[in-house]
């Protein structure tokens, strides 16, 4: 056991040196590292949000709103299909709980044809996977004239996936506008998006920017209705809707349901200033379709007010003075400068497919992060010094061997963390400290074993041999059990807790190498050089 072939010595030393080299960048400031030659490793350990400050926001997509959208669209499709085939129908309704749209066909003669046509609305889920036969909705007959179109779970899952995908794209465009470094935007579970933005200070603004659905609509104000009367009588004309302005107090407007042009037709939006009033505004440009439609609408309605509606709130309702033919325009609505620039970002990034709600938020300010690093560092260093002193007191020279191995172990942890780009959190620092305890435990086991073997009268070399080989199975067993609970932590935990599990796992694995192999190498050379009659242990 104490004999090391040449290649093994080289391998062990190689691993140790590599670990130290990869850990080294962490000793320098980031700016210093940048001026170093390119062939040196540059990766530093990423600091978790709890250490460098930042925002962790977990969003959930409003599932009901999405189903509602889906059913609305489905209802429009049903209406269009039946109209196209001149089939008269009645009782076209949608049911959110059932996730279904139902319709009754008036003439029995058309019933079969209507059923066949509506069945075509159902498409296989997943395109090429069409062979599986799973469709996005089930179309069935109900009674002797009814037809029910019911969304399937697979259909919902598919819609959810694409909605989440679209949300991630949109959020990324919005967060990028903030110009922070390395934001992370990931899908989590079925209907969630996790947004992590390091080093951000104005979290409220970030949340506002992400949370805004950003659905922009240009609609006409109903010139025939008096908003005040409608508010009092609560009788909204059938083709109209009662909407309020965003200011306080909110001003009511009676607005036509029909959407003339929507945000989908925007190609650009930029913040700017009104040339006459100097007020912050947002200028926008339509694509070809939008421009054509907007030109026609403004031509037909000169002298009438139209409303710019964002997420169901009226931003402004100017009167159309002249036809707008150029395909561009501006929105003014007594904005502040940041409001105008955020609105431009929202419009440019496109609308979210459904409302996103924050269900978990954890933000840490930069000052707290810095304090945590400082106190974590201090505690870790004191802890390390205490352990090193204690190990030397308990085992003398062999304690010294263990201490050197311990330092190598810590270097390896940092090396691996830097290499795999893992994140160090405050619990992660505690994990490293716990590793210190576990790593020296291996040496305690070995050294105690050596003492026992010595007492039973074995020679120094034989005692050391026996100490290492007998302690080995115990070390493995005890480390495996710790690893099991660490893996469970990694599997079920999130954020900082996961960071703890990562450092502990790396630490335990590294400790099997350093505490056993590295110390054995040292002991073996020490034996060869000094040929001791008695082991100082």
């Amino acid at each position: 056991m104490l004999h090391f072939p040449q290649w093994k010595v080289i391998l062990v030393l190689g691993v140790v040196i590599a670990g130290i080299i990869f850990a080294l960048p962490n000793l320098f400031a980031r700016s210093t590292m940048e001026s170093m030659p390119a062939w040196l490793p540059h990766h530093q350990v990423n600091l978790g949000l709890d250490l460098q400050g930042g925002a962790h926001l977990l969003y959930q997509l409003d599932e009901n709103e999405m189903i509602d959208d889906w059913l609305n669209k489905l209802r429009d499709d049903v209406r269009e299909t039946l109209r196209k085939d001149r089939i008269s129908y009645t009782d076209l309704t949608q049911n959110l709980v059932d996730r279904s749209v139902s319709v009754k066909i008036r003439e029995a003669a058309n019933y079969d044809k209507a059923y066949e046509e509506l069945r075509k609305l159902s498409v296989p889920v997943g395109g090429t996977m069409a062979l599986s036969g799973v469709r996005n909705m089930d179309v069935s007959r109900n009674g002797d004239s009814g037809i029910v179109l019911k969304g399937t779970d697979a259909g919902l899952t598919q819609r959810m996936s694409s909605a989440i995908q679209a949300s991630i794209e949109t959020i990324r465009r919005r967060v990028d506008a903030f110009g922070t470094t390395e934001p992370s935007i990931q899908r989590q579970g079925r209907n969630r998006v996790l947004v992590q933005v390091p080093g951000i200070s104005d979290v409220e603004r970030l949340k506002k920017l992400i949370g805004e659905t950003g659905k922009l609509e240009f609609r006409l104000v109903d010139p025939g209705a008096n908003a005040q009367q409608v508010v009092e009588s609560k009788q909204v004309p059938i083709d109209d809707e009662l909407l309020y302005s965003k200011g306080t107090p909110p001003v009511p407007y009676v607005i036509k349901k029909q959407v003339l042009v929507s945000g989908e037709n925007l190609v650009d939006a930029q913040p700017g200033f009104d040339q006459r009033t100097g007020e912050p505004i947002v200028t926008f440009r339509f694509d070809a379709t939008g421009a054509k439609r907007f030109a026609r609408v403004t031509q037909e309605n000169v002298g009438l007010p139209f409303a710019i509606v964002l997420d169901g709130k009226v931003i402004s309702a100017p009167v159309i003075r002249e036809p707008i033919l150029g395909g561009s325009g501006q929105i003014s609505g007594s904005f502040t400068v940041p409001e105008a620039s955020d609105l431009a970002v929202t419009l440019r990034s496109g609308a979210l497919p459904a409302k996103l709600t924050v269900i978990e938020e954890r933000t840490v300010g930069a000052s707290l992060g810095a304090d945590s690093i400082a106190s974590g560092k201090k505690a870790a260093i004191i802890g390390l010094l205490l352990v090193v002193a204690f190990m030397f007191a308990a085992y003398g020279l062999f304690g010294l061997f263990a201490n050197i191995a311990l330092l190598v172990n810590i270097a390896l942890i940092f090396g691996v963390l830097s290499l795999i780009g893992s994140t160090l959190t405050l619990p992660g620092i505690a994990g490293i400290v716990l590793t210190i305890g576990i790593a020296v435990d291996a040496n305690v086991l070995i050294n105690e074993r050596i003492r026992e073997e010595m007492r039973s009268g074995k020679s120094p070399v034989a005692s050391i041999e026996a100490g290492y080989s007998r302690a080995m199975s115990t070390i493995i067993d005890s480390n495996v059990t710790t690893l099991i609970s660490t893996l469970v932590l990694f599997w079920l935990g999130s954020g900082p807790v996961r960071g703890f599990a990562v450092t502990l796992t790396i630490g335990i694995l590294a400790s099997m190498f350093t505490a056993v192999t590295v110390t054995r190498l040292m002991v073996s050379y020490w034996l060869r050089w000094t040929r001791p009659q008695l082991i100082p242990i």
Binding site: E361, G365, G383, L386, V433, D441, T474, S485, V488, G493
Partner: protein, 316 residues
């Protein structure tokens, strides 16, 4: 050359298992009292498990005017609100109870920020909505149970079922004992507490395995020794290691309790307590339980003649 102090003499002969009646009483107390505490006093659940909002702020003046902050936040009518000093005189922790909906939960932060203005530094804001908190409760419970089962299977596989049962029983003892500490000191029980519990489970087990290993070895070595004596011998032989290991880990962790900062204080304190209680249960719970359960004498060696279990138990 310096050979190190032998903190624990080599030939201790302490009757740990022999005096088990006393230790049974203590172990029973350590298990039952925490349960009573949790039942009567309850746990101080953090927002992770209860939902709600937590804000840590730092005021510009060197001593925060708690009464003023309390009055301002109470004026918002957000339900139960706690305002307390946190670590330093100008650090304040504000806890707001869970609001009925996710949106109101979000609005509560905006409102607090409005009344406190920008004269304070918002060092930390955490909001956990009702959806997430219920998931975290489920996740945390599953984590502890899954870890226990996985460990049970591993020990069963490596040793005998008696060892596995003894290990799990002592882990339950450690877990209840630690939860009792959370209840007694009213430490906040949150996600990192679950991490602490799982780590204590792993660490404490580490220790049991070392003693089990020695028991197994001695079972093969001293085929005629009565079990009580054999268990005591095994514990005494490993005593030096047990003490040294726990002391080093404790030394490493203790600075976090004292200077590690408020954020990790609870976690570190629970870990330190777990280290102590884990050491206790290795010696006083896991080992005597083996006596009751009656470990087999064949020790897993296929070639050795198997002794009937009843005989081993009769000797004990």
């Amino acid at each position: 050359m310096f050979r190190g102090f032998h903190f624990i003499p080599a030939d201790t002969k302490i009757g740990f298992v022999r005096l088990r009646t006393i230790s049974w009483v203590i172990s029973a107390l350590l298990t039952v009292v925490p349960l009573l505490l949790v039942w009567k006093v309850g746990l101080n659940f953090g927002i992770d498990f209860q939902g709600g909002t937590l804000m840590e702020i730092q005021t510009k003046e060197s001593v925060a005017d708690l009464a003023d902050i309390r009055a301002k936040v109470h004026g918002l009518n957000l339900g139960e609100v706690q305002v307390q000093e946190f670590g330093a005189p100008n650090d304040v922790l504000i806890r707001i109870a869970a609001q009925p909906t996710e949106k109101e939960q979000q609005d509560s932060i905006t409102k607090v920020k409005q009344v406190l203005g920008d004269q304070v530094d918002y060092r930390r804001v955490e909001v956990v909505g009702p959806t997430v908190s219920s998931e975290l409760i489920a996740g945390g419970t599953v984590a502890v149970v899954v870890a226990m089962i996985a460990i049970l299977i591993y020990i069963w596989f490596r040793f005998e079922w008696q060892f596995a049962v003894a290990a799990i029983a002592s882990l339950v003892h450690d877990v209840t004992g630690t939860i009792g500490l959370y209840s007694a000191l009213q430490l906040e029980f949150n996600l990192s507490s679950i991490a602490a519990l799982l780590t204590i489970i792993g660490y404490s087990l580490n220790d049991k395995v070392v003693i089990f290993d020695r028991v197994r070895e001695n079972l093969r070595k001293y085929r005629k020794m009565p079990l009580t004596e054999l268990l005591d011998l095994s514990i005494n032989e490993t005593l030096s290691r047990t003490v040294l290991t726990h002391v080093t880990t404790f030394l490493a962790m203790m600075p976090f309790v004292i200077v590690g900062g408020e954020a990790i204080h609870g976690f570190a304190l629970a870990m330190c307590w777990g280290i102590v209680i884990g050491a206790y249960s290795s010696i006083y719970v896991a080992a005597p339980l083996q006596l009751i359960l009656g470990v087999k004498r064949d020790g897993g060696m296929a070639s050795a003649p198997t002794r009937p279990k009843a005989q081993a138990r009769a000797r004990a």
